[in-house]
Structures are given as C-alpha cells and as structure tokens.
C-alpha cells in the first residue's frame, strides 16, 4: 500500500481498523507501529474499562429513571472511542470534553460522585479541573475546542511538552467555533488533538445534514493532518491518538481524528430516538459493538474469558454500587450556597 494511498484512506476513505467487527486483528501500516507494545494484558485492561463505563452508563440511566438524576447523556456504543483515546493520554495532557465524555472522565480519575453532581443538579461542574486535568463538561456545542487551543498555546509558551485533547461530536463540526479552533491551532502550530466522535447523530439530525463528505476531510483544508478511524475499535483509536499526541508533543502541531462510531442510546435520557431513526440502523451497529469485538479477539488469543468476565463484572458492580450510593447520599445543597463565595454582585431582590 503506497503512502499516498494509505493517507487518502486515513482521511476520507474507509476508517482505519485494527480489530474488525468480528474481532479479527488486521494490519494497518499507519497504525500498527503505534501499538507494538500492546499485549493481551493491556487489552484486557481496555476491556475492563469499556465494561465499567458501560456499566456506569447503565447505572446512571437507571438513577435518572428513578428520579435520582435530572438527566444523563449516555455513551452507549462509544466506549472504544472514549477509552482508546483516554488511555493514550499522559497525566499532564489536558482534556477539554463535551458533556458526553463520562468514560474519559472515569479514566482520568474523576471521582464517581463528582461525575454525577452536574446531572443531579447539585453543581454546574462536579470536579476541580486542575485535580484531574479535565475541564468541566461543556454544554455549548464546540466552545471547548477553542479552550483546548488556548491552553495549548499556553503549553507552548511555557515550553511544556504535553498536549491538549478536545472532544466534540459530528454535529459540533458545523459550529463556527470548531472551525475557528482549527484556524488558530494550525496558524500557531499548537499541540491540540481534535477528537471528533462521529456517532452519526446530533440529537435527531443525521451526520449527512452536517456534512456530505467525511468529517476527517475537513481538517487538511485548514492545514491539519487527519485520521479517520473505526471508533468502535479501541486499539485503532489508541493508535491514532498516540500518533496525534506524539506529533503534538514533538512540535508537529494539531491533528484531527474522526472516530467513526454510533450512539446506541438516546441523545440524553430526555430523548426518544424512535421518533427519528430506523431500528435497523441500530441493529447494524449492534453487530459492530466495541466490547464484544474485543472479547472475541481476546478469546481468539486464548484468554480465559470466563475469569476475565467475572473479574470485570465484579469491578463493574463495585463501581456501579459506589456510583449509586454516592448519588443517593449526595445531600441537597444549602440555599445560600447558590451565592458565590467570590466577587459576584448579588441583587437584593
């Protein structure tokens, strides 16, 4: 495969893949060199992560149904995109997420109770960004991509060799801010990874309404190299993110990654996807599930899946139970806590 060819593939062709939907390991000239070190125990760790965050997602959805959370934005189906990218990050790298990156937050060590403060209505942000190097969930679509760009400018000025990564959706690519972020990042050659989870939907709008060409194709026109990867393939996502981080940290500037995935659940617990999307589409994507394909691969490697699944389930149960008790025991805030402890003006009204 010529470099020319592989590059085109990597940007607007079929997404780059290392693990097929059936769980087969395939080659990729572009990605393979970046995951040479990944053995089965590392893969098993990724597997655990994915199972755990899916479980967090399920538990939080239940809590919402039970009235314990006001809202929850599920990540079901996007586990590989979130885990593969988050596990590529170094501690010093700084994450600027949207509202859906609960899996990323988990990997960064955000405390489970802190994870749901926002969704229970207790706080506008659940954690101190500086404790975990993750900014608070961004609700204004696309705004965080500029923050990642500015932070990256600060990293360069400081002579630091870490990077920022910013997460956003397919819908977000239409926002001016995301495009301006690419302009700034390219102009100043900044260490930013633009990580787009193309989950095919922006609430009820299919990705084709935002763009009729692959989203990864957007970036080269800004002077930013792009990679289009199978977002349900945790290994491919890991490799792509490592490529991007390596470029960023060695002065090569920004990279755009389109992780092609699928939102298997509703947009949020307030959404009803049956109003706008075909059940068949969901079925097609179930066949590409990120977790089961990794299970199949590990199984084919001779991993004792019964044991692994039992261990992972125990971990997931523990996490889910912590999440639940943390949530339920979160006290309602005191009325006066509404007022900031710092210098904002308060009307007497």
């Amino acid at each position: 495969m010529s470099e020319q060819h592989s590059l085109r593939d990597g940007v607007t062709g079929e997404p780059l893949t290392l693990i097929t939907a059936e769980g087969q390991r395939v080659d990729s000239d572009t990605l393979d060199p970046w995951v040479n070190d990944v053995g089965d125990s590392f893969l098993a760790g990724l597997y655990e992560d994915m199972v755990v965050i899916r479980r967090i997602d399920t538990e939080a959805t239940h809590l919402q149904r039970q009235g314990e959370l006001a809202l929850w934005p599920p990540l079901l189906g996007q586990e590989a995109a979130q885990i593969g990218s988050a596990r590529a990050l170094a501690q010093d790298d700084f994450v600027f997420p949207s509202y859906r990156e609960n899996g990323v937050a988990y990997c960064r060590g955000v405390n489970l109770t802190d994870l749901i403060r926002v969704w229970r209505g207790n706080a506008s942000s659940g954690w101190d960004p500086y404790q975990v190097n993750v900014a608070t969930p961004q609700v204004i679509i696309g705004a965080q991509t500029l923050h990642a760009t500015g932070y990256a400018m600060g990293l360069v000025n400081d002579g630091a060799s870490s990077a920022t990564i910013t997460y956003f959706g397919d819908g977000a690519t239409s926002q001016g801010d995301v495009n301006e972020a690419m302009v700034f990042a390219a102009s100043f050659c900044l260490p930013v990874v633009f990580f787009c989870q193309n989950n095919h939907w922006a609430i009820s709008e299919p990705v084709g309404l935002q763009s009729q060409v692959p989203l990864a194709g957007r970036a080269p026109g800004f002077g930013i190299p792009a990679l289009r990867v199978d977002g349900n393939d945790v290994l491919a996502v890991l490799a792509a993110t490592r490529i991007a981080l390596d470029r960023a940290c060695s002065g090569g500037g920004p990279t755009f990654i389109e992780a092609v995935t699928y939102r298997m659940g509703p947009h949020t617990t307030a959404d009803d996807p049956t109003r706008y999307r075909d059940a068949n589409e969901l079925e097609d994507w179930k066949a590409k599930d990120p977790i089961s394909r990794l299970a199949a691969l590990l199984n084919s490697h001779g991993m004792d899946m019964e044991k692994l699944d039992a261990d992972v389930a125990a971990k997931a149960d523990a996490v889910a139970s912590d999440l639940r008790s943390g949530c339920i025991n979160l006290p309602d805030p005191e009325p006066l806590d509404v007022l900031p402890t710092f210098s904002l003006r308060i009307a007497p009204g």
Binding site: G121, S124, V139, I140, S174, I203, E205, V338, L344, G349
Partner: protein
C-alpha cells in the same frame, strides 16, 4: 374555543401562518422529524415538507445568517433557537444584521424574521437551558420583543409576529408549555389586541404588579394571596417587552401609586430597570414609594437544585409587595443601615 396546551397553541399558530403564506418557512435544529425538543413544530414537516420546515446544521449563527438571506429574498423565516442559552452564537447576526438591515437600507430591505426562544427556568435543566436573555434584545434598537403568557396569546401573537415586517423575538415560557387554556382558533387576527399592547390581567387598586411570560400566572396567584392579606393588586402582563406599551402601566400606577416588577432575569440592567425608570419619569408625582424589583439574583443561572431559591416565586413577590406597600418585609431589618 378549543382547550389546548400552550405548546399546542404555538404549533397551531405556526400551522395557520404557514397555511396562509407560502413564504413562511421554519428553520432550526431538530424541528423536523423530531418536531423540536419541545415538540412545538410537531407534524409540520410532515405536512409542509422539508423545504418549509428545515432541519439545519448545528450552528446558530449559520441559521440566523441564512434566515437573513431568506428574508432578503422575500421569505418570512421563523427560527427556533433550541434553548435560551444557545442564542449567543447568533448574537452578532441578530444585533448587526437582523436588527439593523431595515434601518441600514432606509427600509428597502425588510427583515420579517421571527425568532422563537423557549426561555426561563423551572424545568430542572443543566446550565444554559434556563436563561432569560430578553434584556439584551430589548436594549437593541430595531428589534421587537414579545413574550406570551397564555395559550390564546401564544396562538395569536405567533401569527402577528410572523406577519410583522419588523424582526420579532418571541420568548416562550418553556415551563408553561403544558399549561392548558382556551384558544379561539377561528378568531380574526385583525380583531385581536395589537401585538404591542399590554394587558391588565387582574384589576386592583393598591399596587401595580408588572410582569410577563412565565411569571404572569405566579402574579395572578400573588393577587389572590394578597387579597387575603387585604391588598388589592393590579396585575399587568406586558406582552410586548420592546416597545413597551406604557399607557396601561401609567394609568395603573396613577391609580395605585405603587409598582412592583418581577422577572426571572438578573436585576442589574434587566427590563425591570427600564420599567422602573420610565414609570418614575412618567408618574413621579403619583408614586408613593420607589418601584420595587423582584428578580433572579445577579449570578449566572444556578444548578437546578437551587432554582427554586433563585426564581421569584409567590413568597418573594409578596415580599416585594410588602416593600412597595411599606409593610414589614424581609429587608426591614436592614433599614436605617
């Protein structure tokens, strides 16, 4: 007369406007198949087609600027902003283009754009979903701003907004979408109260209580509660926030001598300031006390567990009435300080 919810009434009004004028097109995020996140446009794409009920890419400035171009071409776009807090990316197009184009072109280019904004709090949502940004727009010359408080007005005024050659921001009190009321769908639009007219909702003689949108129904409750206290409250629903129909307000304050204004938006520089200042200018010699404002705090909209404390409610408005009446109130202890 049909009994319908607030949301349904807007839907019916949109439908009627679209039926009557093929130049009316709806634009916004998720307004097609989904019918909008609040289902206000439910069924309209099915009936009018995707070229008249347009699901747009996710970019508010893009939506607004495209609407400007459609208006240039003679269309009457009705833009849905999904939530109040998402109007800001469109602010430049609204303030520099929508508001200014008719003045800029000496009236040659009209901007009959209606911008529908579900606004206000009380629905337990996260940040950016509960804001009351109306004062940014009422301070912008060249825009009309209205807010509706009941299904009948919702139905009539959306049609009037669309029919207006001026751009209109139409603020919908989202927490009232499920409130039901009678709507006369057959009513002749030309017989309806002018879109700019304020209305006296409850007559009273001791104090004038001015509000709009979501707090009108709270204000009615206040009038009832206050009358038990022996205070007669005249409630006025502004309906039009810009321009304001000051005459009924003046008439009322000349009678009562006391004015309370309430809104969810922050107090500092909110619409209440303009009303207080204008009524003081117009009725200075009739005022027995300074106009009182009861509003959201001057803080970013807080997390939802706080919103019942943040939003003016019956108790806080009653307290405002006590202040206007010079009766003991929550601030009495501070007096003389």
């Amino acid at each position: 007369m049909t009994v319908m919810t607030f949301g349904r009434a807007i839907n019916a009004g949109l439908r009627k406007a679209m039926d009557q004028d093929p130049k009316v097109v709806l634009m916004g995020e998720d307004i097609g198949k989904l019918g909008g996140v609040f289902r206000i446009t439910d069924g309209l794409q099915k009936d009018f087609g995707a070229h008249r009920v347009i699901d747009t890419p996710l970019a508010e400035s893009g939506i607004m600027g495209t609407a400007v171009g459609l208006a240039y071409r003679g269309y009457r776009p009705v833009v849905e902003i999904q939530f109040d807090g998402f109007i800001y990316p469109a602010f430049d197009q609204i303030v520099c283009q929508v508001a200014k184009l008719h003045y800029r072109t000496q009236g040659n280019v009209k901007m009959p754009i209606t911008i529908r904004v579900p606004f206000g709090g009380g629905i337990g949502s996260p940040e950016h979903h509960s804001e009351s940004p109306e004062a940014y727009f009422t301070h912008t010359s060249g825009l009309r701003v209205v807010s509706v408080s009941n299904p009948q007005d919702a139905y009539t005024m959306i049609q009037q907004a669309i029919a207006s050659d001026d751009p209109v921001l139409y603020f919908e009190p989202k927490r009232r979408y499920h409130t039901k009321g009678e709507v006369d769908e057959a009513a002749d639009l030309s017989q309806a109260p002018a879109v700019g007219a304020a209305s006296v909702v409850t007559q009273g003689s001791d104090v004038t209580l001015v509000t709009y949108g979501p707090l009108v129904s709270t204000a009615r409750d206040v009038a009832i509660a206050a009358s038990d206290d022996g205070v007669s409250v005249e409630v006025i629903d502004l309906r039009s926030l810009s321009p304001i129909d000051f005459e009924p307000l003046e008439a009322s304050v000349r009678k009562t001598g006391r004015l309370v204004i309430t809104h969810e938006a922050a107090q500092f520089g909110g619409l209440g300031a303009e009303i207080a200042a204008s009524i003081t200018e117009r009725c200075f010699n009739y005022l027995e006390a300074a106009p009182v404002r009861v509003t959201g705090f001057d803080i970013p909209y807080p997390p939802s567990k706080f919103e019942s404390h943040h939003l003016p409610d019956l108790d806080r408005i009653m307290d405002g009435i006590d202040r206007a009446m010079g009766r003991p109130n929550s601030l009495s202890a501070l007096e003389g300080k």
